[in-house]
Amino acid sequence: MNSPRTEIESLLAIDVGSVNTRAVLFDVAAERYHFVAAGLAPSTADAPYKDIGEGTRAALEDLQRITGRTLVGKDERVILPGHPDGSGVDAMVLSMSAGPLLNVVAVGLLQDVSLESAQRLAASSYTRLAESIWLNDHRKAETQIDAIIQARPDILIVAGGTDHGANKSIANLMEVVGLACYLTPVENRPILMYAGNQELAGRIKEQFDVMTTVRLAPNIRPDFDLEDLSPAQICLAEIVNQIRGARVAGVSDLAVQSGGYTLPTANAFGRVIRFLSRIYDQNKGVLGVDLGATATTVAAAFGGKLALHVNRPLGMGAGIEGLLDPAQVAEISRWLSIALPEDDLLDYMHQKIAYPASLPVTPEELAIEQAIARQALRVAIRGIPRGLVEPVHPDGAGLSAPFEPILATGAVLTQAPTQGQSMLMLLDALQPVGVTTLVLDQNHLAPALGLAAGINTLLPVQILESGAFLNLGTVISPICSADPGTPIVRFRLVYSDGTEATAEVKQGSLHVLPLARNQTAQLYLEPLHHTDLGFGRAGRGVKITGGALGAVIDGRGRPIRLAGDPSERQEQHKKWLWALGG
């Protein structure tokens, strides 16, 4: 009999999405961790299976077929730990975004202070904000009680009061919350998460413990001017896991096999973005976007401080529901490279909601999907707290904060037929400024790395260095209000062998710099017509490394000005895509 290995070399990551389940294998080769392969299968959290086990088994079978390795034993469980013959794995982690959104009632003292913090906390996981109660809520007490009960909350998030601050006001609010809990049938009572004035925590636990489960978290508003969601986000993630584990069959079993290394996918994704922000340029932030079928997660981190926002419903499947408003449909229409009446676009969106796993077969359908993806991302980035990222334009178009890199995942982005399409979707939607690098997580590894960091901190670092992510290229996005066609930047690219390439970039154009993948060069930019390059002195130059598409100067301005005439606009989109290689 094989004796199990004690050190962690191989790691299996299961990610259960609302449409697809992935089984991802990492292992050591030449003394470094590598991404080996990923298996894929339809998710089975929904009916008729209502058990994530079936989809997980299918994804594992796919992974076994690809790798030729035995990962599952005769008892249909993952072989843990791994054996010297190569069967099994040493550790397993589980992330999950599938399952119903959980109803949250947010309770806070001041509407624009602690209540907003409670709402932002709720938005950091797979929840739906069903109701809010605050101190100056002018509704009668009984109306507030009824509102809480009718919201059918799974979780009550209570915040308010700085530490050592107000407690009488919170006590008054808790009377309403307590009555609502008391009047809710025992089997339906929500979990109470208290993240307010810590002086009251013990008393609130004592008061509510007899009625329902109480979870205490550090104060998310320890000071009036200070918001700290991170510790409470972990607590909320555990609650979400606990509730979904009880409601979706198969979760508990996989959570046990993963030894507790289980997180909602968004939290695992946020964790890796925060991790990256600590190891990259401390003067810049790291931005992560995960465009899923039901939800779109945006994670922005600066020096370890993370803002995590799960936009829901918003995505490429059932999440299209979040884009059905006529104004959103009109916006999507502006990103289309084909002529299509808005009624037909609306038909397409409704059909995709009904069949979220279906794929675009025709070029026209692909153009629609990619237009929807742009708008979903644009809506999603507006969810980043303004204090962290001030948009260039009041409508939220354009990111002003310097992000390096921007990491993107989600099938519509990573499985696009060409890398030019992937890059153009990201540039159109995020509209970064200054210098940044666009990176694609083609195998949706980021959540697994976020979880793996809890087991082995070396693994995510080595995977990130291994080239498992696709560097699309460095993007320089100057800002200029000159007329289209006006030269705005003159660039000189000096290669390591001393040769040079020079050219001018015109306003309204995308220009690909001649730089091979992984080739480095010094880029010197000369701004023309009062162009703002978004970084330091122009003459100094920046060192850039070529990605899959080389490097790109996005001279389209911020926000990108789309032509008013539909056919001109469609030509614009086609021209920009051609500039990126089609």
């Binding site: 009916a47 399952g99 059909q351 009904a354 077969v361």
Partner: protein, 351 residues
């Protein structure tokens, strides 16, 4: 690969579990025959509450008011009943402003739960109660034709089926809707005009089964007082030939249209049930399946949307499609003999 299933069957056993949203009272017994519109269980809705400020009403401190409140938790009270008092020179009293149940008393306040109307659970399909779910509902079984759809307006009704289409690609127009259809369930094809939907609502019909409809008509369809369900989708799509054949051959029979909104998590879909007698028990259809050759499949996306055919091969690898995407795929032989390669993700197995 795991396949999506849509049940479109001329004769099968249909079994549906129908549950209240909250514990309540089950009104049927095992073996009882029910109609689709029969109430099989009831529950109390989430009631409204009223907080009575007794202390303020009496003009006394809360602790004193608590000793004066005459009602206890759980007690039913009627409008005008005295809750507390009289007290003081003015003989102040606090009375209940409406009927209700006392649910909490303390700190000089009394919380009253106001009575509301019961929430009813309908059988959903005609048939026999074969099992009870304590305090929650029942399992109902019947035999007959079953046609599942993809969108419904959350209404339920039954009536005789009136077929107003002559081919799967026909459009239903307002001139086809006259008083002879009033109270019937109409089988239309594509409904493209708002005036047609308004005419159906004005009659009114008892149900409308369509192949497709523009999504812009969804708000109006949601206001219709009768069930409307789409079999194939939004936009202009033909009716899938399997459903067309089953429905047109059951003209003038009583059909139940349960146009529930599609809820993938709970497995609830809009469906048409036509109860038919059988001489022997027919097995219920499978709820899960994997793709296999010979299956009848329906294509859910362009090109060939809504067309049905036979899965004749599973393609090796991941073929590339005109859009440039690559995906596991199969070859489908359509009814006209043409063969098309379709991503498996765009196929529903019909059985």
């Amino acid at each position: 690969m795991l396949a999506n299933l849509t049940h479109i069957l001329p004769l099968t056993t249909i079994r549906r579990e129908r549950l209240l949203p909250a514990p309540g009272r089950v009104l049927v017994r095992t073996g009882q025959k029910v109609l689709a519109t029969d109430v099989i269980a009831v529950t109390k809705p989430i009631n409204r509450h009223m907080l009575l400020e007794v202390a303020r009403g009496l003009g006394v401190p809360p602790e004193q008011a608590d000793t004066m409140i005459q009602q206890k938790e759980g007690q039913k009270v009627a409008k005008g009943d005295i809750i507390a008092g009289p007290v003081g020179m003015l003989s102040r009293t606090v009375r209940t402003p409406c009927d209700g149940i006392v649910v909490a008393v303390g700190e000089g306040q009394l919380l009253l739960e106001l009575e509301g109307e019961l929430v009813s659970l309908l059988a959903g399909i005609p048939g026999t109660v074969v099992d009870l779910v304590t305090d929650r509902g029942a399992v109902i079984e019947t035999s007959g034709a079953l046609v599942q759809g993809m969108w419904g307006n959350n209404q339920l009704d039954k009536s005789l089926l009136s077929v107003l289409v002559h081919s799967p690609i026909d459009e239903l127009v307002s001139s086809q809707l006259d008083v002879s259809q009033r109270g019937s369930v109409v089988l239309g094809g594509y409904l493209g005009k708002e005036e047609t939907l308004k005419a159906a609502i004005d009659l009114p019909l008892r149900g409308l089964i369509l192949a497709s409809m523009p999504a812009r008509l969804v708000p109006l369809a949601l206001q219709a007082p009768f069930p409307i369900m789409l079999l194939d989708g939004f936009g202009r799509l033909p009716m899938n030939p399997v459903a067309y054949t089953i429905l047109t051959t059951n003209e003038e029979r009583e059909v139940t249209v349960n146009a529930s909104a599609w809820d993938p998590q709970r497995g609830i879909r809009p469906e048409v049930v036509i109860q038919l007698p059988t001489s022997s028990q027919i097995p219920a259809p499978a709820e899960t399946d994997i793709f296999a050759l010979g299956q009848t499949v329906q294509i859910r996306r362009a090109p060939c949307s809504a067309q049905a055919g036979t899965l004749v091969s599973l393609r090796p690898g991941q073929p590339v499609f005109p859009s440039g995407i690559h995906a596991p795929a199969g070859t489908v032989k359509l009814e006209n003999g043409e063969q098309v390669i379709v991503p498996l993700a765009n196929l529903d197995v019909i059985e």
